[in-house]
């Protein structure tokens, strides 16, 4: 568990990037951050009708100075966030969660991201390269406007491949359509992924088929983000081989791709620790 700070942050800027928004916050109390950490932002203002925070991957951060997030104005809370402006103060808790585990050896790595899933990847690429790892990036999205980070990731990677569902940019298709070949070509040993659950599942499968280790940052509905409510669980196989419903906010959001029971997300598999016996508890 990281030690998180609850902070009042003043908005330095909030600018559109493609279909997303780039939020830069003054965060004088901000601790050190690892790639894969997330932040939880209070929305709607005091006395507003929204009680729960919104979780966002940390895009960048200067400890003691700034915190940067990338978000899609999606539902009620993120739409509210999108209407804020420079000078407004928001309440943020960060850093939260378990970050990506970095390889001990300077192996070749592939970073795969869907849409705003690219937010944590620049930081990750930098740290991997600092350890001497080769970094290949695959960015996918439904359409060109939903791609994030193409330029900045180009600068910190050895190769960058883009896929879009509609072919408006890069290869028409899914990230997994290009992943296997890329891994073979570069003898990639580790795959890092962030994006929609279906993508993570497919990426984890390709990684496994190619004998690579995968780290996937999942996105489960979270009420608290700090481990106290038990809403954000998914079935994950432990070191002892037992499946448990595990909190993605404190034991994740990054999990080993081969440990998540992707097909069973949103269910309680029968062999889960503490699962109801057939016929109910």
């Amino acid at each position: 568990m990281s030690t998180a700070k609850q902070m009042k942050c003043t908005i330095r800027s909030l600018e559109p990037v493609g279909e997303y928004l780039h939020l830069i916050l003054d965060a004088p109390e901000m601790p050190e951050v690892q790639p894969g950490h997330f932040a939880a932002v209070a929305v709607g203002g005091v006395g507003g009708g929204m009680l729960l925070r919104r979780a966002f991957s940390i895009h960048k951060s200067e400890p003691g100075e700034t915190l940067e997030l990338i978000f899609a104005a999606h539902g009620q809370g993120t739409q509210w966030l999108a209407t804020q402006s420079a000078g407004d103060v928001i309440d943020v808790i960060a850093p939260l969660g378990k970050p990506f585990v970095l390889p001990r050896q300077p192996v070749a790595c592939v970073l795969v991201a869907g849409g705003y899933g690219a937010a944590p990847m620049e930081l990750l690429a930098q740290q991997l390269r600092a350890r001497g790892c080769r970094v290949d990036v695959v960015l996918g999205a439904a359409t060109q406007e939903k791609l994030f980070g193409v330029l900045s990731l180009k600068g910190v990677s050895d190769s960058l491949t883009v896929t879009t569902d509609d072919g408006t940019s890069g290869v028409r298709g899914r990230v997994t359509d290009v992943l296997a070949e890329l891994m073979t070509r570069n003898e990639s040993k580790a795959v890092y992924a962030c994006g929609p659950m279906a993508m993570l599942q497919a990426v984890a499968a390709v990684a496994q088929e190619n004998g690579a280790f995968s780290q996937c940052a999942v996105e489960e509905s979270m009420a608290c983000g700090i481990g106290v409510c038990m809403t954000c669980v998914l079935p994950v196989i432990g070191d002892d081989g037992v499946t448990r419903m595990v909190r993605s906010c404190v034991e994740g959001p990054v999990f080993r791709g081969d440990r998540v029971r992707w097909n069973d997300v949103d269910t309680i598999p029968q062999d889960t620790f503490g699962a109801p016996s057939p016929g109910g508890h």
């Binding site: 009708g49 509905s221 949103d266 889960t272």
Partner: protein, 308 residues
């Protein structure tokens, strides 16, 4: 001079008036990064059952106007691991601890109480009778005065401890005073109220209930007026009965409403999810609310709204 905020629930003296609500602070450890947990009135732990329990399928929550629905389904490690890990941590860290228990049937409540009565570090017992009774077609214990009393009698018969036993009541009943009377006759030292209201959100894209468990419990400020009403009714009917109040408390002002209605202390639940430092903040605010109105202590305000 700042007002005296100490209070009590039956025989249990509390150094502070705000507690965590069961299921909204796990077993306290995760809140330690936001404040000193030993300075809270108490941590009320997530309801624990005999056996490990996986809980219900996700999605387990939906945000609603000024509230949320949850259908966790009492996920937990079972009493054994709870004692070893959670209670041990609380005890080591000098945290006043009220353990919440839940059973599938009356006997399980009894077993849990028997185990906990012997363990050091259990300062109070909250009996969560607002969970479904598997032997009675899933009807919630707290929705029936007879089954509610059976649970409490069974617990009481094995509770060889001075720590108070509280029954946690559900608001989803026609007459909450009737249920309160029945658990008092069965021997509780106090009541905790209110648990969540049964609710549902429909996912109109999937055309099905949003939550994996279909229905869920509604909590948060949305339900606060229901909680205040329930506490007011029960305090009016049974004035000597200690009440631990909860249901949508967000500020010290809200907490004062509960105290004035008849609660001796308050638990902070859903609001912790949005503001993990809320239990400490609300205690401070409550002190200010009392001071600005010229009260010297919390105790003089308990139930005061009944006098006017």
């Amino acid at each position: 001079m700042s007002p005296d905020l100490t209070t009590s629930l039956g025989s249990l003296q509390l150094g502070a008036p705000t507690l965590t609500a069961s299921g909204c602070a796990a077993a306290g450890k995760e809140l330690a990064q936001f404040g000193d947990v030993s300075t809270l009135g108490a941590v009320v732990t997530k309801s624990i059952m005999m056996q490990p329990r996986s809980g219900r399928a996700t999605p387990r929550m939906a945000e609603t106007p000024s509230g949320m629905l949850n259908s966790i389904g009492l996920q937990g490690p079972g009493i054994e691991v709870f004692l070893e890990k959670d209670l041990a941590w609380l005890h080591e860290n000098n945290v006043t601890t009220i353990v919440s228990i839940a059973g599938n049937n009356v006997e399980e409540f009894g077993e849990l109480a028997r185990i906990l009565a012997k363990v050091p570090g259990v300062d109070g017992l909250e009996v969560n009778i607002s969970c479904p009774n598997v032997e009675s077609r899933g009807q919630v214990f707290a929705c029936n005065p007879v089954s509610a009393a059976q649970v409490i009698e069974t617990v009481r018969s094995v509770w060889h401890s001075d720590a108070p036993v509280l029954a946690k009541l559900s608001p989803d009943v026609t007459d909450i005073v009737e249920i309160a009377h029945s658990v008092v006759e069965a021997g509780v030292d106090g009541v905790s109220m209110i648990n969540t209201l049964l609710g549902m959100v429909i996912d109109v894209d999937g055309m099905k209930p949003m939550l994996g468990g279909r229905t869920g419990g509604l909590s948060g400020p949305a339900i606060r007026p229901v909680a205040v009403r329930a506490i007011y009714q029960v305090h009016a009917a049974i004035p000597h009965l200690p009440i631990l109040g909860m249901g949508g408390i967000r500020t010290g002002h809200d907490a004062l409403e509960f105290i004035a209605a008849g609660a001796s202390a308050v638990s902070i639940g859903t609001v912790v999810f949005g503001d993990p430092s809320a239990p400490w903040r609300i205690a401070t605010e409550l002190g200010q609310e009392l001071e600005s109105r010229g009260y010297n202590s919390l105790s003089e305000v308990i139930g005061l709204a009944h006098q006017n």
